[in-house]
């Protein structure tokens, strides 16, 4: 036990952090839930033919054509 820290001070800080994080996470979960329920609002982009997961940069040069294909 830290010599100068009183049990009261430690308890108060624990309660404060408990309340704050419960509050934040409740809203965070709610917003993620709403995001999931809304679902996709537009069709997903089709990956370019040359793009493979282990070569993410291969996508970079093809932005324009991919976007055109997706109807953007």
């Amino acid at each position: 036990m830290t010599p100068f820290l009183t049990a009261q001070a430690a308890a108060i800080s624990l309660v404060i952090f408990g309340i704050i994080y419960t509050f934040i996470f409740a809203f965070g979960i709610f917003y993620i839930y709403r995001l999931l329920r809304t679902g996709l609002v537009r069709p997903m982009l089709k990956p370019a033919s040359a793009a493979v997961p282990n070569r993410p940069l291969s996508l970079a040069g093809e932005d324009a054509s991919v976007l055109a294909e997706a109807g953007e």
Partner: protein, 327 residues
Amino acid sequence: MIMYWVSLLAISILLYVLLDGFDLGIGILFGLTRDEARRHAMWGAVAPIWDGNETWLVVTAVILWGAFPAVYAMLLPAFYLPLVVMLSALILRGVAFEFRYKAERMRWIWDFSFFGGSLVATFVQGMTVGALVEGLPFTNGQYTGGDFGWFSPFAALCGIGLCFGYALLGACWLVRKCDGDVKAAAYRQVPYLSIGLLIFLVIVFSFALAENLQIMHRWIERPYLFIFPAIAALAAIVLAVSVERHRDGLPFYMVALIFLSAFGTLAISFWPYMIPYVITVEEAAAPHSSLAFMFWGEGIFVYPLMLIYTVISYRVFRGKVRATPVH
């Protein structure tokens, strides 16, 4: 080596006060308006940079912890509860940045978190400085004032004063970054905030005289300290003129100069003490081997990198914020 770390500490505190000062200040001003277009523009003026500004608070704490562990160990217990409250305020305020535009009916919660968080964090910071200036009870290097020993009317007064100070810094940032309504409103607020800050400074000064605080003797012993109030007075005059003539770029630098001179006043009137009249910089410093170890990593490599990063991010987001449609 000790001087090197004292300098880094001073630079970090100063950067924190100036940078987070204006975004906390904008948080306070945010609560004073109901107009959504203005709120949106104020949000936009700090959104890209606010979290970078808070880096300097972390850096300050880390330098205290690593280079001046004695001071860290004395201050943390003394300000345990106010620090927890300040961190909670900063957390709520930070989350508000993420959640505000996700909320629809409940947006007022995040508006309130942003305003309240900024106000509380600012108040606690000012109060901490006030309590340090007034002096806290320490015996044998341990804080003995109890959980609420930091509270005093003087400390509370300093908290209120810093709210005016940060709000002034925030208003000048808005003048610099925004156009239209927001800028006009900020220009109108600057005189009131300046007068508020001035009244507060007069009250603190007379309070200090009445209480005959030790800091007053310092000033009589070291008359060269009056250079700082002189710089501040000069900056205040330029501030008034630049606001009068609507020079958008200047007011922020002038208020920054006022903060700089206030910081210089405090630092030099207490030198060589780190916690006034309790522990000096020499006594507080960690052993040479620790300071040297940190010097070769954090000191000479990471710290300059952070400075460069800060400069770059302000360059990227320089100029006026363009108006974007309200979500």
